[in-house]
Amino acid sequence: MFYEKVAAMAGLCVLGLVLLDLSRTRNVPLSRQLSWGRVWLRIFGWACLFVGGFFVGNVFLAGYSLVIILVVAAAVSGRTPSWGGQEIWVTIAAGIRHQLPIPSLVEAAVEESGQAARYRQLLARLRAGMPLEELVRRLRIGRPERTALALATKTGRFDEAIEKAREYRSAMWDVEELFTGRMLLLLLLLQGVPAGAFMFARISGHFGLILKDFGLDAQTAATRFGLGVPAWFFSPGLLAYIWTAVSFGIVVGILLYWLGGRGILADFWPWSRCSLRSRSLILMTLGQGVRSGLSFTEIFDVLVNHPPTLGIRGRLLRTLEAMFRGDDPWDAMRKSGILSPADKDLLAASQQLGELPLSLETLARLHRDRYSAALRWWAVIGYLAIVTLFVLGAMIAYACCLGTLLAIIFCLM
């Protein structure tokens, strides 16, 4: 029965692979990509591969890892909806910059990516003359880009909106990479801790045997050198908890960062001022809106419906309500924590001088740079943590090896 089960599951895997090969969509014309037969072949192919792979994998004690590998392969192949959305966004931006018809370009991008089936409805609506705003709303693109385009539909200045959003992204890319890279490196090193501990446990077993040969036990050797460290400090359980907590913390931290930036918690916390990132994006949008002659309520209406960061909508809504009640816009923004008192005074003064758009943009750039400097600090902290980890690991290994050797020497003496 066992052999039959294995053979059936392996057969299922092979069938899945054949179906997936038959349903390939890359470099295939749009009409063939959109045929339902191909879509069903694909669904059945993945189902066979997952089910068969999981059960065959279990025989190899690797069923779960096979599923993980499949997920990673799908992510790496760039077929995720967010990546598909990004590609279409890049296409739309290029089309607007070079004044080319958007629908045919989007259609070509979808055909090229081999994901026509996923965007079936979108393509149909594009052919029916869907407006650009609706197209963008349906895509999974970054929040700042979404805000910029929503504003551009009111001002009609798509070129400027795309250019500003692009400028913001380019300015942040390097520092974001530095931050993420440092955190990922720390995460990688942390994974070395249990691997090192595992090897060290095996080596210390041999040391224990050597000490035993000399009539010593590890405890005596340790106390002889007055290590004086409480036993719980070296408890594997405690170390495992710390390792898990820190690793988990880093992963959650990076995920939070990619969700909305370092200041996402500040944005959610109603009693603090909003993050520098949110502030810079709001000021940038305000600058563009004011330059195009929109009123504050109109700009805030766009911001409330398309907030540039995840946790900022509540503050924007409160500001808009205050403005509708007749409050001063700068006061309303200060009260909801979007502006600092100094920012408020500066902007009120430049409004009187008639230099408001320029001041808003300058202030937006200033906060963007401050945010970028703060990220660099986190990268430095990550670097210090990496060095500390290295030094601690080296010290422990050195002390334990040297301690054993010295214990043997003392015994011989």
Binding site: S65, V72, V90, A108
Partner: protein, 356 residues
């Protein structure tokens, strides 16, 4: 080193830095300086002995009356071929000196973008090295001795056949995982060591994500050079042939060579590209937009800008991709620790007679 002065083409010394050579040639030609003297002067300033030697050889051959184009067209080395192709492409235009310098800059951007891959790949490569090392240590130091104990016990208990088979399958699975890991590691190492060299291999373009990065850079290079050539009024078939020598994407190169042959038979670029699926759909749309008021060279420039943006977007998506690797690495490590535990549980099951 003496310069060979025979009639046969001279082989340049392997290991010469062709980026430096093409840069030197481009700048010298654009500045209208005497080539042999300037190249010798530059060679004297260089620390890299092989590159200096290649520059001296080029200077010697120019003094013998050979043109730059002729020197590089006879050259067999794959590394120096792009320089020859650049010279050939530039020689087609009315202002070869200016164009050459522009092409050299385009080529430099292309190669530096390819070399950027080293930074992007370093983290996953380190992760994979650690995971492979850990898997090897745990397999050889922990799993193998335990498996021997289980087999010994199984013989003692005289259990049924599938138990032994299951253990063998487990080992086969472990070995296959390690081999796949080593294969991926090897591909990564090849790309890290020679990202530019790997661009000539068809298989590189089949790799997930990386393949598209390579393809976008090649398409951008193609569109940029074509924009300059069409703007300079170079005949379409000659321009396509020249660009075919510059791009390293084999599929695109083949398509361009065929397109050049068709263009020589008086077919327009729109007609050639519209039906050829080897040209990406977006390129076809950019170049053959019927409603667009842009000239052909402007359309090529727009396409170049688009593909460059796509490559940049792909490059900046790398951190998200790395997150997947990081989480996978974590889970895999947990799995590695879980396997011995599972083996212990299995052993207990065996002892208590639950398995079999």
């Amino acid at each position: 080193m003496a310069v060979v002065m025979g009639n046969q083409p001279l082989d340049f010394e392997p290991g010469a830095n062709w980026d430096v050579i093409s840069d030197a040639l481009g700048r010298t030609v654009e500045a209208n300086l005497p080539l042999p003297t300037t190249l010798r002067a530059l060679a004297a300033d260089l620390d890299d002995r092989r590159t200096a030697s290649a520059l001296k050889r080029i200077a010697a051959r120019i003094e013998r009356g050979e043109s730059l184009d002729a020197i590089f067209s006879k050259e067999k080395s794959t590394k120096s071929r792009p320089v020859g192709q650049l010279l050939h492409a530039a020689s087609l235009t009315p202002q070869p000196s200016e164009t050459l310098n522009r092409f050299v800059t385009i080529m430099e951007d292309y190669t530096s973008n390819l070399r950027n891959l080293r930074t992007a790949l370093s983290y996953p490569f380190l992760c994979l090295t650690l995971a492979l090392f850990g898997a090897f240590v745990i397999s050889a130091g922990w799993l193998l001795p335990n498996a021997r104990d289980i087999v010994a016990m199984e013989e003692e208990l005289s259990l049924t056949q599938p138990v032994r088979l299951r253990i063998e399958l487990m080992w086969a699975g472990n070995l296959v995982s390690l081999l796949i890991g080593i294969l991926v590691w090897g591909i990564g190492l090849l790309i890290i060591l020679g990202p530019v060299r790997m661009s000539r291999c068809s298989l590189t373009y089949q790799l997930p994500m990386l393949g598209r990065y390579y393809a976008y850079l090649n398409l951008s290079l193609f569109a940029k050079v074509m924009a300059h050539l069409t703007q300079s009024g170079v005949e379409l078939s000659k321009a396509l042939e020249a660009v075919a020598g510059l791009v390293s994407y084999p599929r695109l190169r083949r398509a361009l060579k065929e397109a050049a042959a068709k263009a020589a038979e008086s077919a327009t670029f729109d007609e050639i590209v519209r039906t050829d699926q080897r040209f990406p759909a977006t390129l076809r749309t950019f170049v053959t937009q019927s409603g667009s008021k842009l000239s052909l060279s402007a359309r090529f420039l727009a396409a170049a800008d688009f593909f460059e943006d796509r490559a940049r977007a792909l490059w900046h998506a790398a951190p998200v991709l790395l997150m997947v690797f990081a989480i996978l690495g974590l889970i895999m490590l947990w799995m590695t620790y879980a396997i011995p535990l599972m083996m212990w549980i299995y052993w207990i099951q065996l002892l208590s007679g639950l398995a079999g």
